[in-house]
């Protein structure tokens, strides 16, 4: 679906054909989910949030000004939503596991490893390592590499979305890439 097709679909939705929005969701769900998951690291929760973001987009569709790309507009809704999502940010979701030991029972807190999205799709070892290392990046760097090197956004778009100036965008991109490059090098991948 091109930009023009996005606009056509949006026209339909605004005229009352809400179902037409399904096309938009299918097109952008991976992009939205990827970002949300990278913020919260919980598969179920990221699905719920992704859903909320699309609902919010449908409800706010009137405010979409056609001079910007729809994807950028949607992305800005998502970035704001995630920023305001009140939750203690934590890297791992802990699940209590009861271990029976004679009469005693005690709880172990373990990271939730069960439903990582990469298990679904990426089998390639090198991409798995890339994902592991991206996950270890400081939040700001991970976010910006996702925008720049995965979603292919321009420096200007990123600057507007993150509300930081262009030189800060550059600095974050440099540092994120350098950080990651060093990690991938040390793991023998590049």
């Amino acid at each position: 679906m091109t930009h023009t097709e996005d606009i056509e679909t949006i026209e339909k939705v605004l005229k009352g054909d809400t179902e037409a929005f399904s096309e938009i969701i299918k097109k952008y769900q991976n992009m939205i989910f990827r970002y949300v998951y990278s913020k919260f690291y919980n598969y179920d929760e990221a699905q719920d949030i992704t859903q909320d973001i699309f609902i919010m987009a449908i409800e706010a569709l009137n405010s979409f000004r056609r001079e910007s790309k729809f994807s950028t507009w949607l992305y800005s809704i998502m970035v704001n939503y995630c920023k305001n999502y009140h939750k203690k940010s934590r890297r791992y979701n802990t699940i209590p596991i009861n271990i029976a030991r004679g009469e005693d029972e005690y709880e172990l807190q373990l990271p939730d490893e069960r439903q990582k999205p990469e298990d679904e799709i990426i089998n390639s070892d090198s991409l798995r390592i890339v994902k592991e290392e991206i996950d270890k990046l400081p939040d700001d760097y991970r976010e910006i590499l996702l925008m720049r090197d995965i979603e292919g956004m321009s420096y200007n778009e990123i600057s507007q979305l993150l509300k930081i100036n262009l030189s800060n965008v550059k600095v974050r991109i440099h540092r994120g890439r350098e950080f990651l490059k060093n990690r991938l090098f040390s793991r023998g991948l590049i």
């Binding site: 292919g152 420096y155 890439r177 991938l184 590049i190």
Partner: protein
Amino acid sequence: MSDSHIIFSQMSDFFDDQIHEEEERLYISDHLNCCEECNSEFIRLKKTITLVSMLRNEEYNLPGLSLRSVTIAKSRSKKRTFLKAVPAMAAALVIAGIFAIQTDIFRGRGEVAKNLESRNLTIPDKTGPELVVKMISNLKGKVLEVADQYVEGEIEYHKFIRLSRELENSGFYKIKYRIVADSDPMSRHLNSGTRHKLMQNIEEVGAGDIPLQSDGNKVMDPSKQSVRFRVYK
């Protein structure tokens, strides 16, 4: 410009075509051609970016996402229409049903929906579960279960205080609750047995009592907590 090595930030800018001075651009490109050390570094940068960009093709398993989102958006807009059209009390009863169905069916649970569907045929009791579901939904809480004796839900701490007041005013005399550290996503992974165990920790209090701190000496920031609760008639 001296013949010093190219620093990483320059390479990164060069790669993204962010070097705006012609002279600098030429220098970098010449240097990369003749300096093995910088050239290898530049190749590592390009490989890194290539690997990262491959993640763009990743697809996630998100079953039913578009259908759910669209359906919920539609039912919400219906709700707004209703609110304009019908007197408040009648609307509340209808909306309670819509809310409950959307909160539950679409999150993969069916109990609330089933319960409410069977009740739709009768005139709902003013103090029935529909009202509780509506109150919870209005405060943006989650409805987790509607059973014969209670409605179970989860809500942010500060909203719980308001909810318990509203419930008290509506004649619900008992709420059991437990403060959880956050919105408790773990509950979804638990089977019913484990979940039952979890509920045993819920303290029993009257609706008018407001929780102050969680257990023990730990003083947690209340704004970051959620409350799991059951409302009994």
